[in-house]
């Protein structure tokens, strides 16, 4: 088992800096997910770890060994590609054994390895087929088999599920997680799907524009985002971000939102936030409330620091287990998550309750968490 260490890693393509000095320490056996919007550099970072791109500046260590100048074949890694990248003219068996053939591993060992992996992934029946005759899910399995058969120290996954349909994606997601539990190998996994990141990772690195914004476990990323970007990227539907001003009201700290001519709301801040913002009166802030922190009044067990207000329902979006109710406030559509039975039709005046304990506050200028 190997750890991976990135120190001040930079990558330029011509004049464009794609990776802008990244430090990352991945523990042995960890499942790290690199997540971010398209073009944030996450796939490039993975390719740098794989050795498929040359590093411009900085150092990469795998298992304590500096691998900057080590070609991919000698890095003891295996990679699963988004496009599966199966060899189209080879059978499934030969796809899986190609790496061993290239490394001159004895035929008997090859057969044993194919046997073991194909049983593990349930692809025994497919071994003599060509990739063109397989379904998307089967190809995905074969691609994983090709990676697993090498028994490397580090697995790299480049958006492996994004070509699958929704149902299969969830199945394969669970299988990958089980696989990691069973093998315990270090995995670096790239995705743009924040749910995949949340469900799989032991730690998530949220990337944006060549930087890592936050590197923490899923709960911390979700509940304790460092800035607006991380808060907005993780979670679906995304966090409501209501611009407002810090003020005082009846000896309480509040965030005043909405312009005076359209029903402003003063969200009272919980004590935990008081102290941090008491000196900031008048400061422009963004109030972050996840949809599940706003619900129908009185439908949850009572708690401290609840804030109740009324707004007309503008849109109702049932998802099955929950119903999203959108209302208009401060020039935004604010999303609340309610139980389906509490939903009311568009236009009705609805009584919302916000759990202010779960409020996140961000500086409007720096976008950093307060």
């Amino acid at each position: 088992m190997s750890d991976i260490r990135l120190e001040k890693v930079k990558k330029n393509f011509g004049a464009t800096e794609v990776i802008k000095g990244i430090y990352l320490a991945i523990d042995p056996g960890e499942f790290v997910v690199l997540v971010g919007p398209s073009g944030c550099g996450k796939s490039t970072l993975l390719n740098l770890i794989a050795g498929l791109e040359t590093i411009t500046e900085g150092d990469i260590y795998i298992g304590g060994k500096r691998v900057n100048d080590t070609p991919p074949r000698d890095r003891d890694i295996a990679m699963v590609f988004q496009s599966y990248a199966l060899y189209p003219t080879k059978t499934v068996r030969n796809n899986i054994t190609f790496g061993m053939v290239s490394r001159n591993i004895p035929k008997a060992d090859q057969d044993a390895a194919v046997e073991e992996i194909s049983t593990l992934l349930q692809i025994e029946r497919l071994l003599s087929r060509k990739p063109g005759q397989l379904s998307g899910g089967q190809r995905q399995r074969v691609a994983m088999g090709r990676a697993l058969v090498r028994k490397p120290d580090v697995f790299l996954f480049d958006e492996p599920l994004s070509n699958l349909d929704a149902k299969l994606r969830i199945e394969m997601r669970t299988e990958i997680k089980k696989l990691h539990q069973r093998l315990g190998k270090t995995i670096v996994y790239v995705t743009h799907d924040q749910i995949e990141a949340m469900t799989l990772a032991s730690r998530i690195a949220v990337m944006d524009n060549g930087h890592i914004r936050q590197f923490a476990d899923p709960a911390a990323i979700y509940e304790d985002p460092v800035d607006l970007f991380v808060a907005g990227f993780m979670g679906s539907p995304p966090m409501n971000m209501i611009p407002g001003k810090i003020g005082a009201q009846d000896g309480q700290c509040v965030v005043s939102t909405g312009s005076p001519d359209e029903d402003p709301l003063d969200f009272p801040l919980p004590p935990a936030l008081y102290e941090r913002v008491s000196a900031m009166e008048g400061r422009d802030v963004i109030l972050g409330l996840r949809p599940e922190a706003i619900f129908a009044a009185g439908t949850e067990l009572p708690g401290a620091n609840r804030f109740t207000f009324e707004r007309p329902v503008s849109v109702v979006e049932p998802t099955g287990p929950d119903t999203m109710i959108l209302f208009h406030h401060a020039g935004l559509d604010v999303v609340a998550r309610v139980r389906p039975e509490d939903a009311r039709p568009e236009g009705t005046l609805f009584s919302f309750e916000a759990d202010m304990e779960k409020t996140k506050l961000f500086d409007a200028k720096t976008t950093l968490r307060i």
């Binding site: 390719n47 991919p72 074949r73 990679m79 990248a85 199966l86 060899y87 189209p88 003219t89």
Partner: protein, 297 residues
């Protein structure tokens, strides 16, 4: 689209439709005939005896089929002073076209692979320069090429002609393969790299088997070009090393004796047969290759 797919489409019916269809197929038939007449005339004439040619009209079918003209064209017609027919020159052409097509195709595949999958600084400029070779008129290089062959000691030989065709073919073969490989997912190359294969390992074991459609297109193109070439053949070979195209010219353009149209026609068909054969054989592979190589991402 296959015929099976087409048959499901709802078609128009009615008198007007029938008239239009008839008109369409009539027109197509006329065009078909127009293009086939030269071939029909050639085959018919080659199967007639000289007397019959003199007596009958150009378009009439042979009264009495005889293969004498074919025999003569193949083995006893006089090419210049030598009267062995086209046969030796035909084998000259084969000896030239096989290595020339093979070498230029393999080199083109290697070029296309390197230019697309092992990107290096200046790859696009190098490709542009190679491509420029496709636009150089043949006549321009005749003299420098003759001099080069002379210096290399290959003047007037078949290996010399092979070299010329390989060099001239590279621009096209590189273009074909480069355009094919640019559509091949780079992930496959990367996967093979991680699997531990090197530049040539990936080329021969992964990339080349995938490129059957490109190989077939290139082989058809190169074979047709090289087999049918006359200019390089006449400029860079002499007498016994002439390719069949030059020999054909010498058979047809003799100024002595009676004009044997039947022998001329048979000789022309013999000289053209290999290209036809390549179209028929490789064309089938071409279509098959196109559909077999398709793997969706």
């Amino acid at each position: 689209m296959s015929r099976k797919n087409l048959s499901g489409i709802v078609q128009q019916t009615g008198a007007q439709h029938v008239v239009m269809r008839t008109l369409l197929f009539l027109t197509l038939g006329v065009f078909c005939l127009y293009y086939l007449i030269p071939l029909i005339v050639m085959i018919a004439t080659s199967l007639k005896s000289l007397e019959e040619i003199r007596a009958g009209s150009l378009l009439s079918l042979p009264q009495e089929v005889t293969f004498d003209a074919w025999n003569k064209a193949w083995s006893s017609a006089c090419v210049g002073v030598r009267c062995d027919g086209l046969q030796p020159f035909f084998w000259n052409s084969v000896a030239m076209v096989v290595p020339a097509v093979t070498i230029s195709t393999i080199l083109g595949a290697l070029n296309g692979y390197a230019l697309t999958k092992w990107r290096f600084p200046g790859a696009d400029i190098i490709f542009a320069l190679i491509l420029f070779g496709a636009f150089i008129p043949f006549q321009v290089i005749l003299l420098p090429m003759a001099r080069t062959l002379g210096v290399m000691g290959l003047a007037g030989t078949i290996p010399g002609l092979i070299l010329v065709h390989v060099i001239y073919g590279l621009a096209f073969t590189t273009l074909f393969f480069r355009n094919f490989f640019i559509g091949v997912s780079s992930g496959i190359i990367q996967a093979a790299q991680i699997d531990g294969a090197g530049f040539f390992g990936i080329f021969f074991r992964i990339v080349l088997p995938m490129s059957l459609p490109a190989i077939v297109v290139t082989v058809i193109w190169q074979f047709t070009q090289i087999w049918n070439d006359f200019l390089f053949g006449i400029a860079f070979t002499v007498g016994d090393s002439n390719p069949v195209t030059v020999a054909l010219n010498n058979v047809v353009n003799t100024s002595t004796g009676v004009k044997e149209y039947n022998v001329d026609m048979a000789a022309a068909i013999i000289a053209a047969l290999p290209t036809l054969a390549v179209y028929v054989i490789a064309g089938a592979y071409f279509v098959r290759g196109l559909s077999a190589g398709a793997v969706k991402g």
